[in-house]
Amino acid sequence: MVMRTKIALLSAAAAGLVMSGYAFALPEGVDTVQVTATAKDHPLGELYSGWHFRTPETQALQQDDFENPGFLWVEQGAELWETVDGSEQKSCASCHEDAADSMATTGAQMPKWNEALGKPVNLEQQINMCRSERMGAKPWKWESSELLSMTSFVRNQSRGTPVEVQIDGPMTPWFEKGKDLYNTRVGQLDLACVNCHQNYYGQSIRADRLSQGQSNGFPTYRLKWQKIGSLHRRFKGCMDQVRAEPYKVGSDEFLALELYVNWRGQGLPVEAPAVRQ
């Protein structure tokens, strides 16, 4: 594939470069990558999208919708949106019609409280609930091409919308659990998320310039993966790095962590699909 070869070349070239400030304009569809934290007890003053910390090459790749490889998944998601599936003979569009309207803010507000389940659900889980409960279709596997595509497509409808998750009411215990997980050291290297993403963002760990570990770009195309991946896959990767036994994708632990991480990025515009090294 022409696109793939080009990406490989770009990432090789980017590896030797150090990023300095905004060499490029902002990501397409996004007006800012930096906001001031609004919550009183927010542990960070300024919030930065992960985009801010990447090389100009990687930034540019994200910026251009035609070059951004994540759009292969967005496009596939757009097709699936219209595709009839399951015993009810319905597509997503049968109920939600034009995603540009019906999903304009959804991607910025997940996970949301689900009264029937008595717990929050994130975007992946909501999509699968609609499939199994409303379409009579089989839920898609986590990290399957279909679920990644649909998540990318739906999240992309909210591009530019500031992240805003509910953390009060019944969400509070989940938020607290996520906060706890964020600050708990794990693995043989005995490190917590906070040790890297709060105390050392902007500095380099091996080849990687540490970001604040924000979630506003997910699902994200990673040059290293040569595909798009979910936020939970990234969480898993970070736990692997410190030689910890990761929680399962879709687990309650990662759901709580997702809620808390999203809150840490409250106000940052959704950038999905982002491109990262």
Binding site: R185, V186, G187, Q188, N195, Q203, I205, R206
Partner: protein
């Protein structure tokens, strides 16, 4: 301690001697005594090999010190990090016993919030991945090798 160290440099030249010595009474991670930010004696009972230590320092699978520290002699290595300070001149700043304490358990020297992992500690109940359970990041011999390497990092 000084004379022991000098002997270390001579011994290290002959790799064979170091490997043979590794069999001597090794102190297990749970038995290491850190007193006033120092671990006095060698974990293996003998000095390490600085050349091997330099390798462990770079190795992603082992020390991976380079992930956080860039030293003048390794600055040519691609992708060193800058989370921790460069370790040039560290041999002048710390005694051997202090370096050993830093390596064994950095928290005992820098405080509980440090990002630097302890390399000769064993953790329980912290979701340590199966293949690493009950094991320190480095073996006693590797810790002594890295210390021997750090002892070569003097101010010019």
């Amino acid at each position: 301690m000084g004379h022991k160290l000098a002997a270390g440099f001579c011994l290290a030249i002959s790799l064979g001697a170091v490997t043979a010595a590794a069999n001597a009474a090794t102190i297990e991670p749970q038995d290491v005594v850190i007193r006033e930010a120092e671990v006095e004696s060698s974990l293996t009972g003998s000095p390490g090999d600085p050349a091997a230590g330099s390798k462990w320092f770079k190795s992603r699978k082992l020390g991976n010190c380079l992930a956080c520290h860039g030293n003048r002699d390794q600055i040519g290595e691609p992708f060193h990090g800058d989370i921790g300070p460069p370790l040039d001149g560290v041999a002048d700043r710390y005694s051997e016993g202090e370096l050993r304490a830093i390596l064994v358990n950095a928290k005992s020297v820098f405080g509980p919030d440090t990002i630097m992992p302890g390399f000769y500690r064993v953790f329980d109940g912290q979701r340590v991945r199966k293949e690493f359970q009950g094991k320190p990041v480095l073996t006693a011999t590797q810790v002594e090798d890295v210390i021997a390497y750090l002892k070569t990092l003097k101010e010019e």
